[in-house]
């Protein structure tokens, strides 16, 4: 039914937007909540994708276990790769995470185990309860995972972890003084955030059917962070909207032909100049109007 209304083209755009929305939300937990700015998030996306791809193509796992496996393994690796955040902050962390992205992609590219430059191919669509999930059925899967990620984001924000993240983001020394174990929570943030990204990676790999190292390169990390900041850093609605808009924007902009990326870049610049909190971030014009309207 969905297909009849929307068509496979729109469905595919929605699927990718949904996957990227999960990525943006997961980065939001790390950067928005815990204040750890990361320019290497695509690395976790890739680790999840490769894990799921390898588990299914090389070891014959079914989709669901592979999906879970991807999340778990990415969580473990993510926790480990988060160690630099214990040593450096802010701009230095930005660069360290950038570096991690390059190294991870480099490893994918140059290691036979990961297929090297030949990538991993023949990744099958997921089969759940005997039904092959493609097209709109796959979209349902993505939306379900997205809903889970949204719920998790809300949940974390309200728990002790969320408070700890907030404290760390605001002032690390003060947080430590108040008894928050800063290193522990920083690693938690990395673990949760990368696990979610890993799940998104698994979905991506199974939808696309083939993955290559360059899919998870630095440019992608930049895109994810841009989406998050564009929408509104630190907010769930911002992450969702940022992903939906910027991921689909190049598709929208096909009307203007080859100036798509010029406009994309321009929009980012203008947004940051005039609405640095993001389109609907806290303190943005739209959000303030929305809140006023709701008070009436």
């Amino acid at each position: 039914m969905i297909e009849a209304i929307f068509g496979q083209y729109t469905i595919s755009v929605l699927i990718f937007s949904g996957i990227w929305a999960v990525l943006t939300l997961s980065l939001n937990i790390l950067t928005g909540y815990a204040g750890q700015v990361s320019l290497g998030h695509a690395a976790f996306f890739g680790i999840g994708a490769y894990t799921s791809a390898l588990l299914t193509t090389r070891y014959g796992w079914h989709f669901l276990p592979a999906f879970i496996g991807a999340m778990l393994i990415t969580a473990v690796v993510g926790g480990f790769l988060g160690l630099p955040s214990l040593r450096v902050r802010h701009d230095f962390l930005v660069l360290a995470t950038m570096g991690i992205n390059f190294v991870v992609v480099g490893v994918f590219k140059y290691t036979e185990f990961f297929g090297g430059s030949m990538g991993i191919i023949n990744i099958r669509k997921p089969v759940l309860f005997g039904i092959v999930l493609s097209g709109e059925k796959f979209l349902v899967l993505v939306l379900a995972y997205l809903a889970f990620t949204v719920w998790l984001s809300y949940y974390i924000a309200r728990t002790w972890a969320g408070l700890a993240f907030n404290a760390i983001r605001a002032d690390e020394e003060a947080a430590e003084a108040m008894g928050v174990s800063v290193p522990r929570f920083k690693i938690y943030a990395f673990i949760i955030s990368s696990a979610l990204a890993g799940g998104a990676g698994s979905l991506y790999a199974h939808f696309l059917g083939s993955i290559f190292p360059d899919h998870f390169a630095f440019a992608e990390s930049i895109a994810i962070l841009s989406m998050l900041v564009f929408g509104g850093l630190g907010t769930i609605r911002g992450a969702l909207l940022g992903a939906m808009v910027l991921k689909a924007l190049p598709e929208y902009l096909r009307i203007v032909g080859d100036y798509r990326y010029t406009i994309y870049g321009g929009i980012l610049v203008l947004m940051m100049l005039f609405q640095p909190m993001g389109i609907i971030g806290d303190g943005s014009w739209l959000w303030k109007k929305w809140q006023e309207w709701r008070k009436k």
Binding site: L83, P84, V88, D91, M98, G99, G106, T262, G265, V269
Partner: protein, 289 residues
């Protein structure tokens, strides 16, 4: 192993290129604490302008000069028009703006009426100074790069240490508020900072274009992140550190490739180094801090 002297020579030339690109970046960071990704766009603009002027009048030195001028001005405009408005915003805002600018400029340069999607040769006949010794050979272009590096870096050094504006810069880099309180016209310092750093980036663009005989719209991609490795190694904001780091990185890469080969892509190697430095010596390998 291949001629040590030759590798050394090549490494040093490569290092000079890295330095040219990274100096502007570290200077901007030193004062504004902004990760100026768009610096690589200025680099490309420099290369494009240099190529265009050279194609018009066949004079390398004029092309270089104008490229540096245009790049310098472009850099200043980026500061005045864009960065200046977001100095008080959270640090992530200028970063995203810089990324947006970089994307925009690169895509625009790729249009047919600018550089187009293809690569362009930048063939400059500088056949006056080939150096051939028993230990190494250097082409004229390499000699020019080395000479310009020495001249420009000496100039930067003199400006930074012996002039009032240099003093003002160093003061502002240390403590902007204090410097302002002491009467330094911060905006002038920053504007000149951008002018100088961007001009050097433009020069780098021209020199790289001539050295590899290749100018194209996306040539800023690698420098956009490679330069960051250099400035981290040298200590962010530390100009002398950057000079040493540029040479070090280039030599490390050159010798590694010459002995072991590409165990990982060249970028990954550089970044591995960066991560190690950040973990164990965040102030940079060569800073005094």
């Amino acid at each position: 192993m291949a001629s040590f002297g030759q590798l050394l020579a090549n490494g040093i030339v490569l290092g000079c290129i890295y330095i040219f690109i990274a100096i502007g970046l570290t200077m901007v960071y030193g004062i504004l604490k902004i990760l100026h990704v768009a610096h690589a766009a200025i680099y490309t603009i420099g290369a494009a302008v240099g190529l265009a002027i050279f194609q018009l009048c066949n004079n390398f030195w004029l092309a270089l000069f104008l490229a540096m001028l245009v790049s310098g001005v472009a850099g200043m405009l980026v500061y005045q028009g864009v960065y200046r408005r977001v100095l008080n915003a959270p640090r992530i805002v200028p970063l995203i703006i810089s990324i947006g600018l970089f994307t925009l400029v690169q895509d625009l340069l790729q249009k047919d009426w600018l550089l187009g999607p293809y690569m362009h040769a930048f063939n400059v006949n500088l056949n006056f100074a080939d150096v051939k010794t028993s230990m190494f050979r250097l082409t004229s272009v390499e000699v020019v790069i080395l000479t310009l590096a020495i001249i420009f870096l000496a100039a930067v050094y003199i400006i930074l240490t012996k002039t009032r504006i240099g003093l003002a810069w160093r003061a502002s880099a240390q403590d902007t508020e204090m410097a302002a309180a002491l009467g330094v016209n911060i905006n002038w310092v920053i504007a000149l900072n951008f002018l100088l750093g961007s001009a050097l980036a433009g020069a780098a663009g021209v020199l790289v274009g001539v050295y590899y005989n290749n100018v194209y719209a996306t040539m800023g991609n690698v420098p956009s992140y490679k330069a960051f490795v250099v400035i981290v190694l040298g200590g962010m904001g530390n100009v002398t550190g950057t000079i040493v780091a540029g040479l070090f990185l280039a030599l490390a890469e050159t010798f590694l490739v010459a002995t072991v080969g590409f165990v990982l892509p060249r970028d990954a190697i550089a970044f591995l180094l960066l991560i190690l430095v950040l973990m164990f010596r965040p102030r940079g390998l060569f800073s005094r801090g």
